[in-house]
């Protein structure tokens, strides 16, 4: 999947959990989910579930623990897509 398309899909997902709409506007690969987007840490699990559904992949617990920012999320999504 094209990196830009992937990023825009991810942006749509995190948008509903983000409490910082400015940071969301400037979402990039360096954006951190909790520090920048101010996503409540409990909602990180919801982000992962939404990602699983959107990309039709399964994210294991170890990967889930690492999925704290956009670059890790992209890396995990891309690798899970490859495994398909």
């Amino acid at each position: 999947m094209d990196r830009q398309l992937l990023l825009s899909k991810l942006k749509t997902i995190v948008a509903s959990y983000s409490h910082d709409k400015d940071a969301l506007e400037y979402l990039s690969e360096t954006t951190d989910f909790t520090k920048d987007l101010k996503i409540n840490s409990a909602n990180l699990v919801d982000v992962v579930l939404d990602v699983e559904e959107e990309f039709d992949i399964e994210i294991d617990n170890l990967s889930m623990e690492r999925m704290l920012n956009v670059s890790a999320a992209i890396e995990i999504i891309e690798s899970k897509l490859k495994e398909k």
Partner: protein
Amino acid sequence: MPNRVVITGLGVVAPNGVGLTPFLEAIRQGHSGIAHDPILEQLQFSCQIAGKPELSQSLITGYFSELELKNFNSSGILYGVIAAMDAWQDAGLHVAATAEPDWDSGTIFGTGTSGVDKFREAVYKIDELQARKLGSNVVGQTMASGVSAYVGGKLGLGNQVSTNSSACTTGTESILMAYERIKSGQATRMLAGSTSDSGPYIWAGFDAMRVCTFKHNQSPEQGSRPMSASASGFVPGSGAGALVLESLESALSRGARIYAEVLGGNLNSGGQRGTGTMTAPNAIAVQRCIATAVRNSGIEAKDIDLINGHLTATSKDALEVENWSIALQRSGTGFPFINSLKSMVGHCLSAAGSIESVAAVLQLYHGFIAPNLNCEDLHPEITDRIDSTKIPQKMMTKNIEVIAKASFGFGDVNACIILKKHIAS
């Protein structure tokens, strides 16, 4: 000196009115909130009528963010938060936008169960081996204290934030617990209230016990018949009521409108001894609860103008009236006026005490007695003891100084509270 405690804010989500103004109008006019419930019919309940508050999506989005409503499925929390935030606003209080909580304000907000529909959703997922897909919000919506947690967060409360639970006594108990906390000086302001989930998964257990009426599926508005000879069981209901309790000193210092003073009350249990069981009251305990509430309030039984009873429309109504009569040593034309809100809203279970207390405060403040519906045929054991003129079937305009409100619940638990009109000195 213990603090005097007054009520300065009210909020309500009731089957016959959502919000204070519609509810006040409904109880003045005697509007029934009982309707046929197609879901109960579909599920082949014996009782297919219920009292359920009607909430529009646009109203709901005024209280909850889009994120909060994502995967939200707890009617009890929904009702509780709306009633609580309305009461806070009605008291002229603002939600602190600061990072610091309001250390002097807390809540005791009760419920019977929380988020039963959310729980059902989770149970299905778990059994389908999808536990990992539950998401983050099952706990917050299904823990018993979900409602007080939501309310505490919405209002930024920094004092005690807790949920009480004592079956159908819950709402009245929450007011007394909040009252005690302010009286003893541990809090300045407490939001007291209670809520109850809606729907078949809450009401089924009662339906199975055959304590709900099955005779009025075609005539819902006549279904809830407290004190009537033809009462045939209660009509299940749901909703929430909320009251802001505050020290008199605090209320006066901020120039708040004072609806009523909480003079005192009492909580007790019959211990499931004597005539008391899990489901039936120990009459001695009920009488003792009422008599002690009167004594704790520093009034005499003769001072009570109006009783807002528990009176659910089961065969126990006559016994309740007898208990009041014995406890207050008043009968015939000497008995106070008595009414039951349940004729209009059904039995709102864990929310009953708070919704009915909101109604009681409104009657005190606005000087009227709400009508008793559906008791044209008063139960003879009731009229043997008290005069029928004491059970108004039409709205009465009347100055009321003192109201006694009681609630009784499964587990043989009792609560009685005494409210007095506040006269500015």
